[in-house]
Amino acid sequence: MQGAPLQSHPVGALPPPASAALAAEGELKALLGGRVSHAELDRLSYARDMWPLALLWLREGRIPTPPDLIVWPRTEAELQALVALARARKLALIPFGAGSGVCGGTWALRGGISVDLKGFDGIGEVDVAARSVAVGAGVMGETLERHLNARGWTVGHFPSSIATSTVGGWLAARGAGQLSGRYGKIEDMVLSLRVVLGTGAVVETPQRPFLGPDFAQLIIGSEGTLGLITRATLRVHPLAAHRAFRGHEFATVAQGLLAIRTLFHQGLRPAVVRLYDPFDTAFVGSNKGPVEKSSPSERGPMARELLPSLLRTLAPQTLGRPRLFNLATSLLQKSRLILMFEGEEARARDEERAARAICRALSAKDLGEAPGKAWLRKRYDVSFRMSRIFDSGAFADTMEVAAPWEKVLEVYQRVRAAVAPHAFVLCHFSHAYVEGCSLYFSFVGSGGDDAVMRERYAALWGAALAAAVSAGANVSHHHGVGVLKARTYQEQLGEGVHALQALKRSCDPEGILNPGKLAL
C-alpha cells in the first residue's frame, strides 16, 4: 500500500520457491524433524492475512507473494537453529500465528520462510497468588479462554478475532480486546515474555521488581521484526460473577463522548464502552425502543441484509458518489452508547447505577439492558462476515486510531470529510481511557470495475490516514502497522525512527526478521 508497490500473482501460477530457500530445505528438515514444506497449498495458505486488499485481489484470482517455505518449529532450540540458518543463508523469517491480521504484517513481501508458531501451545498452571499464567505464543485465543474459564479465571482479552488469533499474534501487533475498559490492552496484561531474538539469543524479560528498561514493552508491537515470541506470562482475573448492561441514546456524538469521558474521570471502569455515530445508530432503529439488533458495523455488518440491499438500491445513483450519501447521513444526530460493567456483583451494579446517573444528567434516553445484551451475543460476528461485502461486489475496511479527548471530535470530523468522496463512513468509539479513546471507522465502497475499486481503495486509505494524523490521532490503536500503515507510521515517528532502528540493530543485526514491516 505504502512504499514499494506490492506484488500479486495469479493463484494458479505462483512463482516457484526461491532457489536459496530450496537449497536450505534439506538442512531445515534435519533441524525440524521434517516439519518443512514448499507445497503450493501451504504457500497459498500462508501468503495472505485478512487485509482486505488481498480480498480485493482474490476476487481477481490473484494473491500476494507467497513465502518460499513454511516451517513448524516446536521448541526454542529449533527456533535458535532456524535463526542461525537464516542468518548464515540470508533468508527472511516471517513469524506467523493464525493469520488474522489486517495490515499485511505476515506477508512475505520478498519471499522467505514463514514460521508458524502454533506449535508453542502449552498453557501453564494459574499462579493464584500472582494472578498470572504462562502461555505459549501459539495458543489460540479461544482455547486459552476456555481453558481458563473452566478454572474460574479469564485473561480479559476478547478481540473479535479470538477464534482465529494466537497469543503471540496479540502481542506482536499490540492488540486490544472488547473488554479493554476494565482489563486493558494486551500490553497491560503482560508480566513477562520469552522471545528468540534475531541474534539467536533467548531472552526472558524480568517481572517486577527489576532494574532497567522493561524489554517486554519493546517486543510487544514489534510485529516479528525483532524476535519470535515463544511464551508470555499474562495477568489473569477471576471470572466475572456478574455483568450489568445499559444502553443510552444521546442527542449528539459530542454528548455521548462527554458521557464516556465523565465516566472515566469519575473512576468508573466499564468493561465495554461503545458509542455508535448517528449513521451506525440509525440502522438500529432508534424509535423502536430496545431492539434485538446490534449496530451494523458490529454485525458482519452491513454484510447480510442492510448494505447489500442498500448498495443495490442506491448503487446506480450514489455508489460512484459516496459524498452524497455521507452528506445525507450527516443529517442524522442521535448516538447510541452501550455500557457493560462486570465483576463482583454488588460493585458492578453500583458502577452501572453511577454511570446511569451521569448519562441521565446529560439528557440521555435510557434504553435498558437489551442493546448491551444483543451486542454481547453478536460480538464476534464481524470478523467472519466481512467477505460477504466483497461477494456483493463492494469492498469494506476498518481503521482504528486513538487520540486524547480534546482531539477526538476533530479526528472524527476530519476523517469523515476526507473519506466522504471515496466511501461510506461509519464510526464507533470504543476502548476508552481517562485520557482519550479509540475511533473505529468502517468504510464501505464500490466502483465500476476492479481496477477502479483498487484505485479508490488506495485513495481512501491515503486520505483517511492523513486526516487522522493531521487531527492529532496515532495511526493505530490495536490493528498494528504492518505494510498498510508503514509509511504514515514512519512519518509520525520523525527522528524517533532512529531509536527504532537502534533497537532493530540490537535485536536483529542482519535484518532477517520480517523485513519490510514497521518501515524496517
Partner: protein
Amino acid sequence: MTAVSPQLLQALRHLVRREGDLLVASPYEVRELGQLLQVLAAHRAALGVEVTLSRARLDGVSKPEPQSATVVAQAGVRLGALEQQLAAEGLTLGHLSPGAMALDVAGFLEGPYAGLRSVEGGRLEPVPMAVEAMLSDGRLLRTHASPRSATGPDLMAVVLGGGGQLALLTAATLRCLPRHREHRVAAWSFASTAQALGCLGDALDDGALPASVRLARSGGATHLTATFHGEAGQVERDLDTLGRRAHASGGRGAAAEGAESWAAAPATAGSAPASAAVGAEVAPSGEARSPAPTGGAASSASAASAGSQASAARVREAGSLVFSQTLRQANRLLGRSRALLSQLGSAPTPRPAVPIAPPRAAAPLGEERELRWDAIGAAVDAGRALTLYRLSHASCVVVGALDGGLLLSSPVPPSPLQATFDPHAVLSGAPSP
C-alpha cells in the same frame, strides 16, 4: 571526575560551570543539551565521567489539558511542586508514594520507579502518556501522545527505568486524574496475614484502588488500614468493596487505632522520603459504614460492631503528624524482628547487626522498596509494620524497616541495548537518578 583536557574544557566553556571538583552542565533548553552531547561525543567524553548533568533548569510546565487530564512537564520539574500546581487546576498525579513524589520527572521516569502508577484491577501503567527524549546523537525521540497505540514497540520503554543510558528524558506528557477531596480510612483485623493479603488481593481484583495500606501484626492479629482518596462515589464503592472482601476473608472491623499515625495523607509536597510522613488527622466518621451487607449471625455481629466503632474514618489533611512516634514505633519493630530477618522470602544478604539508634533523616526507615506479595507477607509475619503504596498484583512500593526487595534508590545497571543506542558511550556514564 577524570581529568579534562584543555581542548574539551575550551569546547565546553559555554556549556558547563565548575562546582568544586565537578564540571556541571545545566542546560536551560533542549537544544543546549544537544550541543553538550555533540561536544562530548567529539571529544570521546561522557556524562557522569567528565561532566555531570543537571536537568534542573529544564523546568517548564504546560497548561494542563482538562479533557485528557494531561500536562507536559520538562525533565527537571519536581513532582511535589507539580502536584501543587496541578491542584490549582483540579488535577492530581494520583496515588504516588512519598519517595516518588520527592523526585523530579526524570528521576521518577528513568529510575527504578519507571514512572509507574497503580490503576484499577491491580494493574500498573506508566504515568507518562508520551515522552520526549534525546538520543545520544542529539536527535529527539518524541512518542505520540495517544492513550494507547499499536504502532510498533513502545519506544517510551527505552526511557522508563532506563537510567538515562539509552536516551535522556527532556519532557513527558503525564497522565493526571481529576482531583477530588474525599479521603477515607478503613481498618480491619484478621487472624492471619494470609487472610489480610487475600482480602486485599480480592479487593484489587474488584477494582478498589487504595492510596496506601498499612499492615502490622500485633496481639495475635494482622491489622490492615487502608486509605482512599478520590471522587466521593468511587471512594464509597472502594470502601464497600474492601468491606465485603474483608468480611468474606474473616476480617473484623477495627477501630482505626493507630490510624492517626499510619494513615498517610495524599503524598503532596516534594518532601524527602524520610520527612515525607505528611500529617493526617483522623476524626470519627459522621456516618458509620456498614462493611458487610450479608452474612451469618456471627459475622453480622462483627460487621455491626465494625460499623459502630467507626472502622472507616474521615481523614482531613493536616500538618501535624507525630513523625517521631512513627520512628519510635518502627524502630521498636525493627529491633524485635531483626532476628527473624533470615525468614524473609527475599533472603537478604547477611550483614552485621546494626545498633538500634534513632535514625537520621536518610535512615533506611524512609527508604522505599519494591516487594512482591510473598515478601510482604513474610515481613509482616516477622513483625514489621509496613506501609504499601502503588499497590498492584505484581508488587508494591513499601515503606518500613526492610532489607528485602528492590531498593528504589538503586543505580540502574548497564543495558545490553547501550551498544546500539549510545555507540560513542556519551550517555552511558550518566549517573543514575
